[in-house]
Symmetry: C2
Subunit: 411 residues, 2 copies
């Protein structure tokens, strides 16, 4: 794609109204635009990142037999009153009355909706287990929306719900989802610790988080440096030694990038979600839920991977894998770059070609700000060769075009 045609409003100055590093950088690089605290527009480059993460997530969820659907944001009070959460979530759930006096809320999560939905379909043991997920915008009245896209009032989330005939069956699937999550984080290039956590109101004992170590994090976890056991500090805080291997635990700041909850038969009992077993008896369904904040994940990647020059995108979720830069106005350079672009695209690489009429210094700096994994420079100085730079290592090489291409295609 030609950079002259894409809406990518980079700024030379760091936005002053943002506090967080990720909020500043993502705006300066033209990936997002702030509408109000905790509420951002995702510009074409940012949207490409969200789509790449969503694609990874879909692939892993299909592998564990989960099906995609889409539930609404507009919530009726009655449903949430069945579990008492209309009241207990009052402080973070946007709630209001419409003109006709109906109580409405915006979804912070979807357990109530999906349980209600499944109740309508008269489940039998043959229908279970069942796993359903969505990728959807959610809303929370965050009192402190100062962490950029990490703590949004409107945020994109993948939420999965699984339904089982027994606690044992649920436990087995719960482990499968953890493995799917591990695959997703590994693909992105994030080291995420599976952390024992407090589950809030319903599920004090059975909840886990995936935490990425970062000074920008709002959480604190205890981590074992040897076996990677981790526990959220809010769970106990008195633990000094690793319960697995005895090593002294370390305290680290971290960003939550996923969470999983075992509800057991809570919803089966409270909202009367039952299935008919082989004997024809009604039994409560066992439920678990699992979340990954997608916009938050973009914030975590930005905090962990950016440097003084700008963003540094991991290959798997970069909006484009390679940026081509044409320095100078020689038509021949542009011609070569366009031909190189075509060859790359035939090989399934996403290419951004900076064809803009601007100074070499400006283009090089802008390129570091937006942070594609690879940069290929076409310039008079390099003759028939190109300069290939790895954004993460900063390492640059002067290569023949064909050798540069071979490097780009290496897995």
């Amino acid at each position: 794609m030609l950079q002259s045609t894409i809406f990518l409003p980079t700024q030379s100055a760091v936005p002053t109204e943002e506090i967080s590093r990720n909020g500043k950088l993502l705006q300066q690089a033209g990936f997002v635009s702030k509408l109000q605290a905790g509420v951002y527009s995702w510009l074409p480059m940012g949207l490409r990142v969200l789509e790449k993460i969503s694609k990874l997530i879909r692939r892993e969820h299909q592998r564990i037999g989960a099906e995609e659907l889409l539930m609404p944001a507009l919530q009726p009070k009655a449903l949430w009153s069945e579990t008492g959460r209309w009241e207990s979530l009052k402080s973070i759930m946007y709630q209001w009355q419409d003109k006709s006096g109906h109580d409405l809320g915006l979804a912070t999560t979807h357990e109530e909706v999906i349980v209600d939905l499944l109740k309508k379909s008269a489940l039998s043991y043959r229908d279970l287990p069942k796993a359903l997920y969505q990728i959807q915008w959610k809303f929370r009245n965050e009192p402190r929306a100062k962490s950029g896209v990490i703590r949004g009032r409107e945020f994109l989330m993948k939420d999965l719900y699984s339904f089982h005939v027994s606690a044992e069956d649920l436990d087995q699937y719960y482990a499968k989802v953890h493995q799917a999550y591990r695959n997703i984080y590994a693909d992105i290039g994030l080291k995420a610790y599976l952390t024992e956590a407090s589950g809030g109101t319903f599920t004090k004992r059975h909840s886990h988080e995936f935490q990425v170590i970062s000074d920008a994090g709002e959480d604190k976890i205890l981590v074992c440096p040897k076996c990677e056991y981790a526990q959220n500090l809010e769970l106990g805080g008195n633990l000094k030694k690793c319960p697995n291997c005895g090593k002294t635990l370390e305290t680290k700041k971290s960003i939550e990038v996923g969470n999983t909850f075992i509800f057991g038969d809570y919803y089966g009992q409270q909202m009367h979600l039952k299935f008919t077993d082989k004997q024809g008896t009604q039994q409560p369904v066992y439920v678990a839920s699992y979340g990954i904040g997608i916009t938050r994940l973009v914030g975590a990647v930005t905090e962990v991977y950016s440097d003084a020059k700008g963003l540094v995108w991991p290959k798997a979720i970069a909006p484009f894998q390679v940026q081509l830069l044409v320095l100078g106005n020689q038509p021949n350079l542009t011609k070569r770059a366009r031909a190189f672009e075509k060859t790359c695209e035939k090989n399934h690489l996403d290419i951004l070609l900076d064809d803009r009429n601007a100074s070499p210094g400006f283009k090089l700096k802008d390129s570091e700000l937006i942070g594609m994994p690879w940069r290929v420079v076409f310039s008079e100085k390099r003759g028939q060769k190109v300069e290939l730079t790895n954004r993460q290592t900063g390492k640059a090489e002067i290569l023949e075009e064909k050798d540069a291409l071979a490097k780009l295609l290496k897995p």
Copy 2:
């Protein structure tokens, strides 16, 4: 995909709480599930339809150089006060105050947000024209949410905004968008009339709608039976003869499936969206906006194409192009059907295979209810042959597998 593994809760009884035909059928066939009036969950089959329509829309928008982005639903009052629409949209825009006393609204449309967003990027004549669109859920407090997914309180919409240096440049692009819309409707198989319309507050003279004739429609249009000129009845109503060819106009009920608005320099002036021209002078930007209600389009297709037996999906947006039915329990039939499925999928056909253990009568009826364009039946009765049925014409043929495949692959 195996039907035994998909979440597709068809119902034998017609839902009684729904008034509209599309709401009844889409629920009975397990495509959507109603949460409250005008608010639906989109189950796996329904979501597949939304994605197929979105893909068609994206293809046509890329062809006219439009770029995709994503804007938020949560709206601050201040922005909407700049155009006076916080007040003028009060009756249909969900508005409330959060705990800290901030006025919030949910987006009914995004002109204010995108104009504000572009203002921040200091436009020059080199940046124009520019066209940006999104596919996103919107909210409207519809007083009468009784038309199923045609008039949702939460609905999926494609909205495009274009920005120009002059009224002439805008007019040229406006015509291009009309052609893109024509292509989209033609692909889906809907006959949509380009209709002169009233544009509401800002743009009385310059607004068009695309209208599909249907008795389920809430609009009335005057149509010329000869040259296909059309005008919304609310525009004048006194017109008897076609202004193009003089034929007597006919009055028809219709469903609006798209609309386009020329705002001219209104936003340039009112919200101070300016660009720097070649002489370095600030000039107002010319703006137009264009919408297609995607969930509404699903409703329109249902109203136009369904019959007494159920849904009838046009090929381009059917969740699966072909449904394979195995009647009877012979393992050999299932084996043949699975092999046929594989061959079809290699040829890029989406296949749903009804492998469920149920009676032939039930499976045949269920198959007509969900309405895939083609059905292929494997049964003992047909021996090595299969029965191929076209859902739209109802025509059935007994064919060799290879001849059935050849028919399915015909464009």
